[in-house]
């Protein structure tokens, strides 16, 4: 036992010595401010702007492979490209929101962005109490006590008509399916999740109307608003099992709306061989390279872009409380290119999807979801 400890200690010391042998930097180029670290980043490349944009995550944290992460990336990009100062704090639970927002205000932030509908009330209260600070909220409008949507003059909601893009993805999925069965599932039944599934189901229905076929959707019933959920946004094994169940029932295109849990579904699809995947939030062909060969398309929700644009406007002094709504028209949402599936998606489907997209943009075709804000 003692010997073992000695060996461990020795090898530890050797490892430390090897890694610690670098040469010290000369005294002239001392690194600035050892006290301020991590969260407080000052971009060096662009000219520094006297504007501080800050972000408070919801309980998912900034590494959730979902909207918190997208938001944080948008804010980081704003720091890199616009030269604004930023600060980000993570919440571990709903009770952390108000203290975190207070800390951001105390840290002289000019703009405070809350990620997720759970921050609606805390952001609203902070906006009303701090007229000289600007606020933004991702994924929810502001409401009064009776539930009516209200405008607050120093707070901007960032919303997404995700169902429009999911509609197109559903159409592509139905048009590409060889078995006539497609599937979708969610992590937890939240509006920001089921909005994807509503659009997807509607897209499949549209394909059935157009082609006279009867492609089935497993995992979601839009009329009843019920379907399959894994129960969290963490456990990939659940995603894998659920996806496997769908594959056993004949599904050959699956859209998992469950953040990292979707990777479990991707594993199941890859094992099955001839099953394709529809990614969500970002283009999975790029973000999940292990599975790029089975990614048919992705429903993209450009939260990062929305954050970036909001910071840019606010830094330029042209902040407005007008809600930002990501649509197919302004590119706030969209579907990713088919990449490897370019040749496998029937040509008439590709053309029809483009047509439908134009119809949605022109307002001729309305895709709606009860989860829409």
């Amino acid at each position: 036992m003692k010997k073992l400890i000695r060996v461990a200690a020795l090898s530890g010391a050797v490892a430390l010595a090897l890694t610690a042998c670098g040469s010290a930097p000369s005294d002239d180029d001392t690194t600035p401010g050892a006290g301020a670290t991590g969260g407080e980043t000052t971009a060096a490349a662009p000219e520094e702007v006297d504007f501080k944009a800050c972000m408070v995550s919801d309980s998912g944290g900034f590494e959730d492979k979902s909207f918190n992460q997208s938001g944080a990336e948008g804010l980081q990009r704003a720091a890199d490209e616009l030269g604004v100062q930023i600060n980000m704090v993570e919440s571990t639970a709903a009770t952390d929101f108000t203290p975190n927002i207070d800390q951001m205000i105390a840290d002289d932030c000019n703009l405070v962005i809350g990620v997720g509908f759970l921050l609606e009330d805390p952001i609203q209260a902070a906006a009303e109490a701090n007229a000289d600070v600007e606020f933004a909220l991702i994924d929810s409008p502001f409401r009064d006590a009776e539930g009516g949507v209200v405008t607050i003059k120093n707070a901007k909601p960032l919303l997404f008509n995700t169902q429009e893009a999911a509609f197109l993805a559903g159409y592509v999925a139905a048009g590409t399916s060889a078995t006539g069965t497609v599937a979708t599932f969610g992590g937890i039944q939240l509006p920001s999740v089921s909005i994807f599934m509503d659009g997807f189901a509607d897209g499949v229905a549209q394909y059935n109307t157009d082609s006279g076929k009867t492609v089935k959707v497993l995992g979601w019933d839009k009329a009843k608003q019920t379907g399959s959920f894994t129960g969290d946004f963490e456990n990939q094994a659940n995603g894998q099992n659920l996806a496997k169940g769908f594959i056993d029932q004949g599904a050959d295109v699956i859209m998992p709306v469950a953040g990292p849990v979707g990777l479990g579904a991707a594993a199941a699809a890859k094992d099955a061989g001839d099953v394709a995947l529809v990614g969500v939030d970002a283009d999975w062909f790029l973000t999940a390279p292990d599975y790029s060969s089975i990614v048919l398309t992705s429903v993209m929700k450009e939260i990062g872009q929305a954050v970036y644009d909001t910071v840019k406007e606010a830094a330029a002094g042209s902040f407005s409380s007008e809600p930002y709504v990501g649509t197919l028209e302004n590119g706030g949402i969209g579907i990713a290119p088919f990449h490897d599936f370019e040749s496998k998606v029937p040509a008439e489907v590709t053309t029809r999807v483009e047509e439908l997209k134009q119809q949605i943009i022109s307002g001729e075709l309305k895709v709606e979801s009860p989860s829409q804000n």
Partner: protein, 433 residues
Amino acid sequence: MSTTPPLPDGAPGEHVPPPAGTGTDAVTTTKEQPEPRSSSVLREILSSGWLVTVLAVVLALVLSGVLIAAADEEVQKAAGYFFSKPTDTLTAAWDAVSSAYVALFHGAVYDPSKDTFAASIKPLTETMTTSVPLILAGLGLGIGFRAGLFNIGAQGQIILGAVGAGWVAFHLDLPPVLHLLVAMLAAAVAGGLWAGIAGFLKARTGAHEVITTIMLNNIAVYLVAYLLTTSVLKNPGSTNPISPPVPESAQYPALLGGQFRLHWGFVVAVLAAVFVWWLMSRSTIGFKFRAVGSNLHAARTAGISVNASFVWVMVVAGALAGLGGSAQVLGTDKVLTADVAASFGFDAITVALLGRSKPLGTFFAGLLFGALRAGGFAMQARTGTPIDVVLVVQSLVVLFIAAPPLVRAVFHLPTPGTRRERAPRPTTKEVAA
């Protein structure tokens, strides 16, 4: 019958629990029959001295300091050339750790950088606000621990309390003070009944309370998530699972005026601590609880209904945790979400253990944990130290509290009474490194 001895004065935030082994001595007499292992472990944890408690907290802070330094970018950079200029690494480490802990203090107690006294003292009121559910739930758990019941269910009981309070707040239309009182009562009843299920199962079937309370936690989590999608709790105007705001008539009034979040829930927590002290040290029921906890066979022989005690211990614990839930909904958050209990129910276990399950100890332990939580926000916002470090501090505190011999070994303290193997010196080195 022994009583709680006079206690040394302690500044808020500093934890000074009563000396060891006071409350239970009178009834710890017969020991022929083997007892369940869990309760003997529990007793050992509860009976170690206050010095060990303080040292455990100190040790946790020191170890977390090492983590803060290791996670710091400047330190990592300087460590790359440690041997050519070791002072850089040490300076960077000192800067990182000291600025993090200074921010923690400023965020939890007093912030001298603010212009007005009110703004400077606001962090302390935040600490008090955050500590309310911890104290209330911790008091409840402490009763259970002293009665030999390892109740892990405060999380679920807080949630149920919040649901009860929320339902009354949203659906009944009552005049101001009455509305609040009815909502509090509903919270206590809902939490008490929820915990009572575990007590009943233990009394009737012998089902272990650790298992049943953990399962009840899960059920509560999904129950509130479900209720938030129905008209029972959901804001009719919203598509999201979130309740309407709590009407003013059902809110805990602000304790120090509108600029602070501190509300009357804190007073409720103080009163609850006094009540628990009375219950456990002065009342017959409390004596029965403690008798059952010390030796349930002896208690049974003495004519105490052990089964009834199990149920009532759980009901009282659940009612207190439920009140903690009401403090969150009606006072701090003023809205009900699925996340209402945060991790309070689990942190409260730590609070109760740290407080040696005594009311005063639990009160100060709750304040300490409230301070860690409140200060954690400032630490994260000002120095970029991940909020996870606060969780690590809390977890390390539990770790050391649960292993008193380890703390004694580190500080070379004598071991009271029991036989001990050779002092594990190598362990000391590893821990200190």
